[in-house]
């Protein structure tokens, strides 16, 4: 535990030291200190993840807080490892990403780096704090620091709006958590997590209800549908390394919370399992459909976070069903797929946000319809983005496939359970999972194809060096390497998942895993064969071409060469055939000016999509609340004397009440 705390100390020190450095070297200072911190933390967390003894330290406080245990158990270590890794890479990335802002008026790098270190420290503490009050405190700090980090470009009104939207969403979430923790504490008379298991065990229906309260509270942070609307606003508004950290790891603290509650939850009812599964499937499908409708690169990635949280949630839902049906295979594979996807999503979503940030930095453009052909100008970024795209689509050879495969295996065990209802739900979930995969493929061929392939759709003013700086490429390279590594060596996951899984799946019996280990090593063999075969076929093809003539020529274009690069297929038209079928979900509106007369001068077509939850739930709800509060606007006159009068009235009221109550 000492190393872990020392690591956090290093990170905080880095934040403090960077305050006193010139703008140009603030980032490097923080990278140096977070590097040391990351080493310390990994040195502590990895052995625990792989089975070393759980480490703990207890800070003693007087009641009502009580003792605060900091416990680094395998589940916490699982989250701490990925949080520290992605955050560290995010700080490296920020050196290059924030360079254009250095010394500019209106952007404060000092506060940004200082807050960044605080944000990292708070995220790292969330999984280890096991006292409800301290947990809520750290949780709030994490939300607050990330809110302040989003506001880096606070001059822009949409950034401020997105930040406030995020803060409000987080406050609603924390309200649920507070209700949950207080209800438990009323029964257990302690804020300590260790006492929770007793309370959950005592009353079955109550514990199911309270779990749902926690699920909503943590689900708002994680971004489950319908609580996802803050994500597509906050991620584009934040600087890209912050988006990567928020989407890659911060929303996973919501998943951590749900998992931690599950460890206390002895006997989940079927309704809870099916409910979680249903919400997860809805998140997966709706998230990716909105991503397809979205042509802002970072918003698209934000909606994909909703999709991937859905996939994680499917794993968790199946795990819960496994617990209820007492089907250990279903539980183990469901939880294994879900938590492995936590890592995987952190790796490839970090990579994709870094890539999107590099594109934004060079082109100052997030609208895909105006981009294109960047693969030639930014070959490394394009290559890493391609790896991220392959991984997020869950395609073989990359890590996303392995976790989706585990969830499929869990589903297969689901319908071999001889429970008709579970079987039907499993087969349907399988269809849903396949739909999510196919939709993600549509979405990322759109994103990668439109942004990086073809020709630029408008002249891009790219600076002297068109590729991102090494400090931006290095983190992408490292994440890409991990994506590929976990994808071709799936056997590794056993040692990683074994210990964090034990408290979730309640089963120390891992003999069932041995069977899967065989399957996975077979899978690894097939995947290597795939890579080998591709190389061989490509080699043969190149040999055939050796003697022949290879000509470079412009695209044939069926004999009608396009007069402008704007005539390439656009993201909107690429997505249109699908979206026209899902129109009722994406709330499509279009404005068009039709070409008229013999020689039409003007024609245009615009289409917009809106999130149905945003337009039918949250906007009306917000308007209703504002309308209600507007009733009281009259008492806000701005007149100081009037406010003093209110104070006086209040005091007189209190006086009368006291006299009335106390005889």
């Amino acid at each position: 535990m000492n190393l872990f705390l020392a690591g956090i100390g290093f990170i905080l020190l880095g934040g403090i030291f960077s305050l006193f450095r010139p703008d140009s070297s603030k980032g490097k200072t923080l990278v140096f200190f977070t590097g040391m911190g990351t080493l310390c933390i990994l040195r502590q967390s990895i052995p625990i993840l792989l089975g070393a003894v759980t480490d703990r330290i207890v800070l003693f406080f007087h009641p009502p807080i009580g003792p605060i245990p900091l416990i680094l158990d395998p589940l916490a270590a699982f989250f701490v490892t990925v949080i520290t890794l992605v955050s560290f890479l995010g700080t490296i990335y920020s050196i290059g990403y924030l360079r254009p802002y250095a010394g500019q008026k209106g952007y404060s790098l000092s506060s940004h780096y200082f807050l960044l270190s605080l944000f990292m420290a708070s995220m790292l503490l969330v999984p280890v704090v096991q006292n409800a009050l301290a947990f809520l405190f750290i949780w709030e700090l994490m939300s607050l620091f990330s809110f302040l980090l989003i506001l880096f470009e606070q001059k822009k009104s949409e950034v401020l709006e997105a930040g406030l939207n995020y803060l409000i969403a987080m406050q609603i979430g924390v309200m649920f958590l507070t209700i949950g923790f207080i209800s438990i504490a009323l029964k257990s008379h302690s804020w300590n997590f260790a006492s929770f298991a007793e309370v959950f065990k005592a009353d079955r229906s109550w514990s199911n209800g309270i779990f749902l309260v926690f699920f909503v509270g943590f689900g708002i942070k994680a971004g489950f549908v319908p609580f996802h609307t803050w994500l597509p606003k906050a991620h584009p508004a934040a600087p890209s390394h912050i988006s990567a950290m928020m989407s890659g790891v911060m929303i996973k603290t919501g998943i951590y919370g749900i998992l931690r509650m599950i460890t206390f939850f002895p006997d989940p009812s079927l309704a809870v399992g099916y409910g979680v599964l249903f919400i997860a499937v809805a998140s997966g499908i709706l998230g990716v459909i909105y991503a397809i409708a979205e042509h802002d690169l970072k918003k698209l990635l934000a909606y994909h976070s909703v999709e991937n949280i859905g996939i994680i949630g499917m794993g968790i839902g199946l795990g819960l069903l496994g617990l209820s049906y007492h089907n250990p295979l279903l539980a183990i594979f469901g939880f294994a797929g879900g938590i492995l996807h936590v890592w995987n999503h952190a790796l490839f979503k970090g990579l994709l946000f870094f890539g999107a940030g590099a594109v934004f930095q060079k082109t100052h453009q997030r609208n895909m319809e105006l981009l294109g052909g960047l693969g030639k100008r930014m070959p490394y970024t394009a290559f890493f983005f391609l790896i991220g795209s392959l991984a997020i689509c869950g395609l073989p050879l990359f890590n996303g496939f392995i976790s989706e495969f585990l969830i499929f295996i869990s589903l297969l065990n689901g319908f071999r359970s001889h429970q008709p209802f579970l079987s039907a739900v499993s087969v349907l979930s399988m269809g849903a999972m396949a739909t999510i995969g196919a939709l993600a493929l549509l979405c990322f061929t759109k994103a990668f194809g439109v942004v990086f392939l073809g020709k630029p759709r408008q002249p891009i003013a790219i600076g002297e060096t068109s590729e991102g700086t090494p400090s931006m490429l290095l983190p992408m390279g490292i994440l890409g390497f991990f994506c590929l590594g976990l994808g071709v060596l799936p056997q590794l996951i056993f040692s990683i998942l074994r210990y964090p899984l034990a408290p979730l799946a309640r089963s120390a019996d891992f003999s069932v895993m041995a069977d899967l280990e065989k399957t996975l090593s077979h899978l690894a063999f097939v995947l290597c064969l795939l890579a080998g075969l591709t190389v061989i076929i490509y080699g043969v093809r190149s040999l055939c071409l050796k003697k022949s003539l290879i000509q470079k020529h412009r695209t044939w274009d069926c004999g009608y060469p396009a007069t402008t690069t704007r005539m390439q297929y656009t993201a909107a038209s690429y997505a249109a055939p699908f979206l026209s079928l899902a129109e009722f979900l994406v709330n499509r509106t279009s404005h068009k000016i039709k070409p008229e007369e013999l020689f039409p001068q003007k024609a245009s077509y615009q289409s917009h999509h809106r999130d149905i939850f945003e337009s039918y739930v949250f906007t009306p709800a917000g308007a209703a609340i504002r309308g209600f509060l507007g009733l009281f606007r009259g008492i806000q006159s701005g007149n100081i004397q009037q406010y003093i009068l209110y104070g006086l009235i209040f005091l007189v009221g209190v006086l009368i009440w006291t006299i009335g109550v106390i005889p």
Binding site: G373, G375, A382, L390, L395, P396, L397, F405, F408, L412, F415, R416, H418, P420, A424, S426, V427, G431, M433, A434, T435, G437, A438, L441, L442, T445, G449, V450, L453, G454, K455, T519, H522, L523, V526, L529, L530, L533, T534, I537, Y538, R541, C544, L545, S548, L549, I550, Q551, H553, R554, T555, W556, C558, A562, Q568, Y569, S573, P577, F578, L581
Partner: protein, 303 residues
């Protein structure tokens, strides 16, 4: 191993040859010899290549990746009496994802040319695959549920011994798989492989800019894909327990029969309007769900 190589390397060209021959006969022509596709593809490998200057490396690796995925997918499927070379528990998941990987690269290669015709084809292919994938998984998932097996080999053997409902389930499964072949192979009524209008194409328009060996790889891959899916039908259709040579013969016969049916279909049907294609694919999904209901209500799962 040899049988697999024969079925994956030799049969695809014959398969296409048979389809073309049947179509010619229906049109009152004699048509090219059945082995013509060998010559067509062979010739492409001796030709040079024209590469669009807009494209990147993706355009050049995509055909190789695509072919590799389909060869591997083929090795996951048992051929008649010979068990799958690479089969394992859950192999049908990998099968679908391999096809998706090939598709991913084909779509990107199409986008790589910056040609809006190719973009259109890619968009259609991606959209239709959104309907194909769940259909495939619901169908295979249901069969896996019924047979209590999770690999192609296991599913097909166990299905034969299931119960009185087997025949109904197998028949329905055949129809659904046949629809999937038509969609994945880009044949009528989903896509017209012989059309001359780019606006109505799906698969053909995506490969407009490929030439030489790359085009050869693409053509062999799409032929092989049809045979691989045809093998699934054959495995489902042919009862187990026959002597090996007979099963092998029956597998070949089944593929021949599928090719003839596809040829006849293409001679007698018009292409569906693009907006109706998803409905056509949903038929396969519905059949999958129907099988699932039969299985659940007939006995509540495997006994």
């Amino acid at each position: 191993m040899i049988v697999h190589l024969f079925f994956l390397l030799v049969l695809p060209c014959l398969f296409i040859g048979v389809i073309n021959r049947v179509k010619s006969l229906c049109a009152g022509r004699q048509g090219p010899p059945v082995i013509q596709p060998f010559f067509d593809i062979g010739r492409l490998f001796h030709k040079g290549q024209v590469i669009s200057s807009t494209t990147s490396f993706i355009f050049q690796i995509a055909p190789s990746v695509n072919l590799a995925t389909i060869v591997l997918a083929g090795l996951l499927i048992p051929v008649g009496p010979c068990p799958a070379i690479l089969g394992f528990n859950g192999d049908f998941i990998l099968f679908a994802y391999l096809l998706a990987l090939g598709r991913f690269f084909s779509l990107l290669a199409a986008m790589d040319t910056g040609n809006s015709f190719e973009g259109m084809g890619a968009s259609r292919e991606a959209t239709f695959s959104v309907w194909v994938e769940p259909a495939f998984f619901i169908l295979l998932g249901t069969l896996a549920f019924i047979s209590d097996q999770t690999s192609f080999g296991g599913i097909f053997v166990a299905l034969q011994h299931y119960n009185p409902w087997s025949n109904l389930i197998i028949t329905l499964g055949l129809v659904a798989l046949f629809i999937l072949i038509l969609v994945e192979g880009c044949r009528m009524p989903v896509d017209d492989p012989n059309t001359h209008l780019e606006l109505t194409m799906i698969h053909e328009v995506m490969v407009l800019d490929h030439s030489g060996p790359d085009l050869g790889l693409i053509l062999s891959a799409s032929a092989m894909k049809m045979v691989v899916l045809g093998l699934l039908i054959a495995d489902l259709l042919i009862p187990s327990g026959l002597p090996g040579w007979l099963t092998l013969l029956a597998t070949g016969g089944a593929l021949f029969f599928i090719a003839v049916v596809i040829g006849l279909l293409e001679s007698s049907m018009a292409r569906l309007r693009m907006v109706h294609v998803p409905q056509f694919i949903l038929v396969a999904t519905s059949i999958g769900l129907l099988i699932l209901s039969i299985a659940i209500f007939s006995q509540g799962g495997p006994g």
